[in-house]
Structures are given as structure tokens and as C-alpha cells.
């Protein structure tokens, strides 16, 4: 059963059509890639999926525990509660806050004490805060950031900031994780590390992942299926091998070098 069903998704801004007629199906547990030249509308698709823009037309359906949920038009925080999480292309960490707080904020929707308990630090506060702290530290540990927990997010080196983006998204306890160019700006060693991390977290957290990436070494290695966009439309869809040899894709985006990836 598809966990995510996107049909005829279209978004126009005034006179400009950013994306049109996007159809995507993702099965539970898959790792799917979304590639295409800059300006193709990939991040716009992510923004539509996560509720930052309402769709102009089309449907986004999330299949959650057998329940179908229409995501189109919902607020981002509602979509997050439904089980969708994302990272941002241009890192959007809470810069002046500590690494630990960045993670704890992402756990907010799963914390159960109310305002009264917050004001008076009642037992439910103490209990839940301890749980949140433990779980946050566990997550940081997986990604080797425990020693930096009190560091201000802004002060982290770039690679660690990207890692924190991912940790933060994981902390919302998602079913479906959207990664927007997680390897941007990384050198080959970091990229290889990232590739194995993505595979690892998919296993460990039972995630389904949709990945936007320009680095073909990542995409071709771990993606089971790939969607290709150009000028706001889907131009191809298939397995990595099918995509590699698709003439339309090569012309629009890949060029001849992809066979070396």
C-alpha cells in the first residue's frame, strides 16, 4: 500500500506555473529520489508536501496506519503531526539555540504536559523532560554530536549543521522523511558517510525516504526508484539504470558523465 500518493499536483504563483501535473507514488519503506536541474521545481514539490504552500490543484494523500489523510491545504505543523518530516535546502536550524534545544523542539508535538505543569514544573513536567532529554541524547549519539549538545547551532561546522538538520527531522518521529539536498557542499568523504547514514537510518527507524539530490553518487547508489523533473513537470520515472539510459533525462540533466557515477 502506497504510503504517499501524489496525483496531478499543480502550483501556480500568479501567472507563473511552478509545478504541474506531478504524480508520485511511494511505497512504505522505499528510498526514492527526486532529481532534475536547478529551478525544476523539486523544492516546490517538497514545500507543497509539507504545507508551506497550498496546492493550486491536485491531491496529496498520506497513508497512515490504514487511514488515508489528505494533506493538501493543511498547515505544516499538522502535516508534521501526520508523520511527514523534512530538511531544508538552505539549512534552517534554530541558529541561536543549542544543538540539544534544536532537537528537543522537534520533539514538541510528542510531549504531553500542559501549561500548568510548565509553569509549576509539576511531576509530569519532570518526567517528560527527562524522557525528552534521554531521547534527544540518544539521537545525538547516533550522529556523533553528543559532545556538541550545548554548542550554539550557528557555531557548528557546515557538515555538522547538515547532520543536525537530519537529526532534528528525525526527532519529530516521522514515517516519511523528505531530504532536500542533504549532500550539498560536502566533499566526497563526507558524502560517502552521508550515503551510508541515510541507509542506516532508514533501517533503524523504519523510514520511507524521498530524497532531492544533485550528487549522482548518492542518488544512483541508494535510491530504488527515481523521479526526474524539468521545468515543473515530471519527465521520467524508473529505476536508476532506466534513468541513466533515458535519453530525455540525459539531454535535460545528466549528460554523459553519469555512467561514471
Amino acid at each position: 500500500m502506497a504510503i504517499l500518493s501524489v496525483s496531478k499536483l499543480t502550483k501556480t504563483f500568479g501567472g507563473l506555473t511552478a509545478v504541474s501535473d506531478i504524480n508520485i507514488e511511494i511505497e512504505r519503506g522505499e528510498l526514492v529520489g527526486l532529481i532534475g536541474p536547478n529551478g525544476a521545481g523539486k523544492t516546490t514539490v517538497f514545500n507543497l508536501l509539507t504545507g508551506i504552500y497550498p496546492p493550486t490543484s491536485g491531491h496529496i494523500i498520506l497513508n497512515h496506519d490504514g487511514n488515508q489523510k489528505q494533506l493538501g491545504g493543511l498547515r505544516p505543523d499538522m502535516i508534521s503531526k501526520a508523520g511527514l518530516a523534512r530538511t531544508f535546502q538552505n539549512i534552517r536550524l534554530f541558529r541561536e539555540l543549542s544543538v540539544l534545544d534544536n532537537v528537543r523542539i522537534a520533539m514538541h508535538q510528542n510531549i504531553s504536559y500542559g501549561l500548568l505543569s510548565a509553569f509549576l514544573h509539576l511531576p509530569s513536567y519532570v518526567r517528560e523532560e527527562k524522557r525528552v532529554l534521554d531521547e534527544s541524547l540518544k539521537l545525538l549519539d547516533i550522529f556523533d554530536l553528543t559532545s556538541k549538545q550545548d554548542e550554539m547551532a550557528n557555531n557548528l561546522p557546515y557538515g555538522e549543521q547538515r547532520r543536525l538538520e537530519i537529526i532534528r527531522a528525525l526527532a519529530t518521529n516521522p514515517e516519511l522523511l523528505l531530504l532536500d539536498e542533504p549532500a550539498a557542499g560536502m566533499n566526497p568523504a563526507e558524502t560517502a558517510q552521508l550515503t551510508s547514514t541515510i541507509a542506516q537510518i532508514r533501517e533503524q527507524f523504519g523510514l520511507t525516504i524521498l530524497l532531492i539530490e544533485h550528487d549522482m553518487s548518492v542518488v544512483m547508489t541508494i535510491c530504488e526508484r527515481i523521479y526526474v523533473m524539468d521545468y515543473g513537470k515530471l519527465i521520467a520515472h524508473g529505476t536508476p539504470n532506466e534513468i541513466k539510459s533515458n535519453p530525455r533525462v540525459i539531454e535535460a540533466y545528466l549528460g554523459e558523465d553519469v555512467n561514471n557515477a
Partner: protein, 331 residues
């Protein structure tokens, strides 16, 4: 943010909460003794109460503007709602129960108006929000000037005075403690995340509008409480006391202390009251100097005294070390 929430189960006297409690008790006792022995003159007592009221106002505004990033220029409006509510009640029920009911009513009414003002305006961006809150405060003031029950521009006088040091200390310390606790909770963190990056916060599951309104209501409640306390000490209130200038006065304290620092607000309230007292004889110059202070701070040190940090033991130790180091240098 304070990671002292992690320090559980250590030595009893090292526990941050116990330390803070002891400091609070010490402050209370010291000041009370100073009052009993008349060392603190009547004039200084007025200054003290004013400082406390300003602390409550500044902490409330800091929650809205410094911690949640919503620029409110109408804080004095909520103070006036609290002041009038409490005054009207205690003038009809001049007992200690009347006073307490007055305070509770002040808080509730200010909160309700905060909800009414906040819901439509908190969707707006920074500058628009500032003007909208300013507009609302002005509307409130004009209403009070034109209502019979509030006695119009002449205001209310002869309000029963119930506020003394013990009450003031209780409410001030209580305010700071409650807001501090709130900020260390997930709800407080949600508010701060909105300041940092509203879109990211919403994407991570924070209902941003709900929390903006929540912070706004909480801040307004405390402003209402401060107004009630003001009325119950200074026994005269007029609409003109709660105009744009009052909102600016509070904003200056918050900015000077540091947007995002509770201890900064406390410190700034004290320092600015001292400066104000020193400049008593130059009343006109006082506003000009305040204005210059605002401009200079924003250009040269926009983070104010404390930035978004709080006074902590670690910080005091550092200050102590650098002072003693300087002494050594001088020989």
C-alpha cells in the same frame, strides 16, 4: 538556554532551584529589614515598588517580544485594563479579599483582551504587528477616556492601597519564576523556535499561531497584574498614564536588558530606575537621554546588557576571575 534542567540528583545545596530559593529569601529579608529600620526612606520605597512593577511589565513584554519575537507596542494597554479592573473592584470591596479578587479579575480580563487583540494581529509581520498593537492600545485608552465608569480623563483616585513589600515581592518573584519555568518547558522552547525561524518551527510541528497568541496572552496577563498592583499602590490612575510613552518605557527596559534575557530585564529595571532617580531634576533631559540611549544601544550593542543570556553562577565566576586578574595586573 539554561541547561540546568539536566542537573538533577546532585548535592542538595548545589541544586539550582534550591540556590535560587535561598537567594530569593535573602533578598526578601534584607529589604524587609531595611524597611523596618527606616533605612529605606519612603521615597526609596516608592522607587522599589516601581522597580518591581516594571520588572513584571518588562518580563511580560520580553516573553512576547524578546523570546517569541513578536513586536508589541501596546503593552501599556493591558496594564491599564488591569489597573482599572482592580481599582473598580477594590473601590467597591475595600477588603483584602476585594484586592485578591481584583488581581485575579485584572489578570483574566487582560488575558481576554490579549486574546481578542492577538488572534487577528499575530498573523502580521513585525512592523505591521507593532503598529496594530499600538493602535489597539490607543483605542483602549480612548475608550477609557470616554467611559463614565472609569471617570474619563480625570481617572480614578482614592483606590484602596493594599500593596506593600511582602505582596510586591511575592508577585514579582512569582512572575519571574513562572515565566522562567515556562521558558524551560517545551512550550517555552516552542515560543523561542518561532523567533528563531517561524517556518522551520512550523515544519517541525510547532503550531506557531497558537504559541504566538499564547505568549501574547501570558504577557498581557502579567501586564494586567502589574496594572492592578500599580493601582493598589499609587491609588490614582488616569488613562494618560498608560499611553504610548508607557509602552515605550517598558520597551526601553527590555531592550536595554537584552531581548531574550530575563535577568537582563530585572537588571535593566533596577539600573534605569537608578538613572531615572539621578536625573530627577532634569525631567525634560531624561526623555532625550533615554531616546539617545535607545539609538546608541541599537547601533552599538543591540543585544543590550545581557543579550539572550541569563545571569548564572558560571558567568559570575568568570566576572569575578576577570576582576581579580585586573587587580593583579595593577599590582
Amino acid at each position: 538556554m539554561d541547561t540546568a534542567t539536566k542537573a538533577v540528583g546532585t548535592n542538595f545545596f548545589n541544586r539550582p532551584t534550591v540556590r535560587k530559593l535561598l537567594i530569593l529569601i535573602a533578598i526578601y529579608i534584607v529589604v524587609q529589614v531595611l524597611i523596618w529600620t527606616d533605612i529605606l526612606s519612603a521615597y526609596l520605597q516608592v522607587t522599589l515598588i516601581t522597580i518591581c512593577i516594571n520588572i513584571i511589565l518588562a518580563v511580560g513584554l520580553n516573553l512576547i517580544t524578546g523570546f517569541t519575537g513578536q513586536f508589541s507596542l501596546g503593552h501599556a494597554g493591558f496594564m491599564s485594563i488591569g489597573a482599572y479592573t482592580c481599582a473598580l473592584i477594590t473601590m467597591r470591596m475595600p477588603t483584602i479579599w476585594g484586592f485578591l479578587i481584583g488581581i485575579v479579575a485584572a489578570i483574566i480580563l487582560a488575558g481576554i483582551v490579549g486574546l481578542i487583540v492577538g488572534l487577528p494581529t499575530l498573523r502580521l509581520r513585525g512592523d505591521y504587528l507593532a503598529i496594530a498593537t499600538l493602535g489597539f492600545a490607543e483605542i483602549i485608552r480612548i475608550i477609557f477616556v470616554n467611559l463614565d465608569i472609569t471617570n474619563g480623563a480625570a481617572g480614578l483616585s482614592g483606590i484602596p492601597q493594599f500593596v506593600n513589600w511582602p505582596w510586591m515581592f511575592f508577585f514579582t518573584a512569582g512572575t519571574v519564576m513562572l515565566v522562567s519555568n515556562f521558558l524551560k518547558s517545551t512550550h517555552g522552547r516552542a515560543c523561542v523556535s518561532i523567533r528563531e525561524d517561524e517556518i522551520a518551527a512550523e515544519t517541525m510541528g510547532v503550531a506557531t499561531t497558537k504559541y504566538k497568541v499564547t505568549a501574547f496572552i501570558i504577557g498581557s496577563c502579567f501586564a494586567g497584574m502589574a496594572g492592578a498592583l500599580y493601582a493598589s499602590y499609587f491609588y490614582v490612575i488616569k488613562p494618560e498614564f498608560f499611553g504610548f510613552m508607557k509602552s515605550i518605557d517598558i520597551l526601553i527596559i527590555v531592550v536595554f536588558g537584552g531581548l531574550g534575557s530575563l535577568s537582563g530585564s530585572v537588571l535593566a529595571a533596577v539600573v534605569l530606575a537608578i538613572i531615572s532617580t539621578l536625573l530627577q531634576s532634569f525631567a525634560d533631559l531624561r526623555m532625550v537621554l533615554y531616546a539617545l540611549l535607545l539609538i546608541v544601544i541599537m547601533i552599538f550593542r543591540p543585544q543590550g546588557l545581557m543579550g539572550s543570556k541569563e545571569v548564572s553562577v558560571a558567568m559570575l565566576k568568570k566576572v569575578g576571575k576577570s576582576l581579580s586578574f585586573k587587580k593583579k595586573e595593577r599590582g
